[in-house]
């Protein structure tokens, strides 16, 4: 059942159109990650839903009710701010208690609620502290607790892990999905980190320049990005792009990249002869047996360790540079200067139109 429904929402600040005619439906209990580069309008979107700003056009519906004339305090949403926005003159306890107090709960019920959520977020030992006495991690958890404590029907999280250190971010990335699931809330989660978006979102909305470029499950977005831009935003190292053309080969088609010809899956027959851009993710580039027809002959130009993986920068004989992050053999065996042939499985090659930079879906 649709819980939150954004209908053709447009927001302008002066002459700037920050959100341009965007629509999004979120189901009850679903977590949608709003992902995009900074300045894309992610935070503005949350502000509109929370009632801190008003859209110029469009409607925001929660459970079918238009929120336009509903004051922020009556929208029953919870929100965690990127800069935490804790009340500096109140203790952590009072901060977390504020949504419960607003609902006129009894004193005992307030204390109960605060302690429960504080325990869950492991901040029950610092409830008496003022915000300035809390570590960044504790501040972040306090802000989260304040957003969650009243079990709001809709939870808006504005990049809550942005201002915490890497270790904590890693922990929280594991902890948050379980926590959010436990609350059963519908969640909009804003982030600039594609990993966070993929780990937390049932679906991801990719917001660029005030438009949703793609809304879909993490798999959808990773495997079938609608544009090169989206493809480039997801994945590290970044997706490899090769200019080339689709050529006919027997019954099927191949991707002609320089001298190499990689077989394509069926469905691209009508693209034959078209100049296109082929996208192949680094982890999908595998070593080909020597002598495989059409493989890309390349030389290892550099070895770059990335987290637990070894990334190689390869240069093909016809001058294309690209990354691989798949196991191609030990560092000694395939070291700098080593020559090898690589290729990719047909289904791992993504085609984009050269001019519009949009994905070409295979014909059914």
């Amino acid at each position: 059942m649709t819980m939150l429904d954004l209908q053709r929402v447009t927001k302008r600040y002066g002459k700037d159109t920050v959100l341009d005619d965007i629509s999004l439906s979120v189901d009850e209990g679903e977590t949608v990650a709003i992902f995009g580069p900074s300045g894309a309008g992610k935070t503005v979107l949350l502000r509109l839903i929370a009632g801190m700003a008003e859209p110029e056009e469009g409607a925001i519906l929660v459970n079918g009710e238009d929120l336009i004339d509903v004051a922020p305090e009556n929208r029953a949403v919870g929100m965690a701010f990127q800069n935490f926005a804790l009340f500096p003159h109140m203790s952590a306890f009072e901060n977390i208690a504020s949504p419960l107090e607003a609902r006129r709960s009894t004193k005992d019920a307030v204390a109960d609620g605060v302690h429960k959520i504080a325990k869950l977020l492991k901040i029950d030992h610092v409830l008496g502290h003022a915000p300035r006495e809390l570590s960044n991690g504790q501040k972040q958890r306090t802000a989260l607790a304040r957003a969650l404590v009243a079990a709001p029907r809709l939870l808006l999280l504005d990049d809550p892990l942005r201002n915490v250190d890497a270790k904590l971010r890693f922990e929280m990335r594991l902890e948050l999905p379980r926590l959010l699931e436990g609350f059963g809330s519908t969640v909009l989660y804003v982030t600039q980190d594609y990993r966070e978006a993929m780990a937390l979102g049932n679906r991801i909305g990719v917001l660029i320049d005030g438009h949703f470029v793609q809304i879909g499950t993490p798999e959808d977005i990773y495997l079938t990005p609608t544009t090169i831009e989206v493809a480039e935003l997801f994945g590290d190292p970044v997706i490899n792009l090769f200019e080339g053309r689709v050529e006919k080969a027997g019954d099927g088609t191949t991707a002609a990249i320089g001298d190499a010809k990689l077989p394509l899956p069926t469905g691209y027959e009508d693209q034959v002869g078209q100049p296109v851009i082929f996208g192949i993710r680094p982890e999908n580039i595998a070593k080909a047996d020597d002598g495989t027809a059409g493989a890309i002959a390349a030389k290892v130009a550099a070895l770059l360790p990335l987290n637990d993986r070894l990334v190689r920068l390869l240069v093909s004989d016809d001058g294309h540079e690209f990354y691989t992050s798949r196991d191609l053999g030990s560092e000694e065996a395939v070291g700098e200067g080593a020559r090898l042939s690589v290729s990719a499985a047909p289904q791992d090659i993504i085609l984009f139109e050269r001019d519009s930079r949009r994905r070409i879906a295979p014909a059914r």
Partner: protein, 297 residues
């Protein structure tokens, strides 16, 4: 297209403040009206509208030009002296040590004395019978120095009081300015062995300029309107030695009951302060933006 609802709250919040003060426009326009009238309280039957007669008369009126001259002299001298002294003291106290901060705090006290009372204090100190300052100057050979009661030294005396009261104002603003300047240019200059006078004229002074401008414009605005010190000290005398704008218009109103002339004089002063305050506000806003970086959405 969604209807953009007007938020009345800000109007509701700011209106009472405006309502309580906006009536000032009534006496203001009354003054504008009076300034174009022949209007003496003592000669009510002569009352009548004369357009710009009062202003035109000023052109050939020596007493008016004397007012202009003495007001400008007073303003220029006080502001220049206070600026030089205030800047000097601010530089002396620039380093934030405990002694310097204590000194800065004590030096601020004269600014907190009501200017009228400050004049009274200096009157007591320059009394011909027992004034301590008379005693001091007699030690260096001025046995009968008569301070504010002598036309030749009256301006000097009121300027002295003005300097005593308002130098701390410039001092404290420039001190705050000096202490807020970025450190890097000075460290770089020191490392390169740049001479101190060069650093002062080429780095300190230009960077301090917004503060200097704001502080001295503020002082100019007040100084051209000075009333309290001069009136409390001499009531414009001796004779009409110190008939600056506001003192002169006060005397014209209450002593000569010449309402029209008094109002016209004040309009001339208003024109000057209007011009000055526009220049001031521009500079002041620039400083203010620097102090409150974040602009609300």
């Amino acid at each position: 297209m969604r209807r953009k609802r007007r938020n009345w709250l800000p109007y509701l919040l700011s209106l009472p403040a405006l309502l309580v003060t906006i009536w000032i426009l009534i006496p203001f326009f009354t003054a504008v009206y009076y300034s174009m009238m022949r209007y003496r309280l003592s000669l009510p039957h002569l009352k009548g509208f004369v357009w710009f007669d009062n202003y035109l008369q000023f052109l050939t009126d020596a007493r008016f030009w004397y007012t202009v001259q003495v007001s400008l002299t007073y303003t220029v001298l006080t502001v220049v002296i206070e600026l030089v002294l205030g800047l000097g003291i601010a530089i002396l106290l620039q380093r934030s040590t405990r002694f310097n901060n204590l000194a800065a705090m004590l030096l601020l006290l004269p600014l907190m004395v009501a200017p009228a009372l400050a004049a009274l204090m200096w009157k007591l100190m320059t009394n011909p019978n027992f004034g301590i300052l008379n005693y001091f100057v007699s030690l260096i050979g001025f046995s009968d120095f008569r301070w504010a009661s002598d036309p030749s030294s009256a301006l000097f005396t009121v300027i002295l009081v003005d300097v005593w009261v308002y130098t701390p104002f410039i001092m404290v603003l420039l001190l705050a300015g000096l202490r807020s300047l970025p450190k890097q240019p000075f460290e770089a200059a020191a490392l390169d062995g740049v001479p101190k006078t060069f650093v002062f004229f080429r780095i300190t002074l230009p960077m301090l300029m917004p503060y200097i401008l704001t502080a001295s414009l503020f002082r100019m605005l007040e100084s051209i309107q000075q009333f309290d010190i001069i009136y409390a000290m001499t009531q414009g005398g001796p004779g009409n030695t110190l008939t600056v704008f506001q003192v002169e218009s006060y005397l014209q109103f209450f002593q000569f009951t010449n309402v029209g002339r008094s109002a016209a004089l004040l309009m001339v002063l208003w024109a000057i302060t209007f011009f000055l305050s526009n220049v001031f506000v521009k500079n002041w806003l620039r400083l203010r933006e620097r102090a409150h970086g974040v602009e609300a959405e």
